[in-house]
Symmetry: C2
Subunit: 98 residues, 2 copies
């Protein structure tokens, strides 16, 4: 199911298909920094990602400083990574044009 | 001018009129946590604040985790706080309904 915790092998397989993402130091999340041309493009990305997050009912932890957006994805209920994190990461990559 | 650094007295006067904001530990920024009913409301707030930031050409450093938004305002060019930070803080308070 979408909210079942992925095991270590599943996480490695998922990361292999997720350009730019890395496993967080605590092993419970994936992280990526996105860099854009300026604030307009950065917040445009965040807006598209916010709509996707609402649709998935799964939300990022993210920090924006001008043209950078640092994202951390995890599924608190599962205490780690699930398919929902992988889905949202893929959509974010698509929105960022990668 | 709007981008002149405020002195300590001006900062204290500004903070007196800014509900919920505090001086950051480094003394170079003001910070506030906004808490909303959920992600929809939190991101709605961020969208309004983003439009105001673009209009002022002055942008926040902010982190969103579901229904909370942590904001830090500073003016890098001035190495501290300016009227621009005070203006953006006031608009954010207005958008948050306080």
């Amino acid at each position: 199911m979408a909210r079942d915790k992925l095991d270590a092998k599943q996480v490695q397989e998922a990361l292999a298909g997720l350009e730019g993402w890395r496993l967080a130091d605590d092993g419970k999340a994936i992280e990526r920094r996105f860099t854009f041309s300026g604030f307009n493009e950065a917040f445009g990305f965040m807006t598209r990602a916010a709509l996707a997050a609402e649709k998935l009912d799964h939300h990022p932890e993210w920090t924006n400083v001008y043209r950078t957006v640092d994202v951390r994805l995890t599924t608190h209920d599962a205490g780690g990574l699930t398919e929902l994190d992988v889905k949202l990461a893929k959509r974010m990559n698509a929105f960022a044009g990668r």
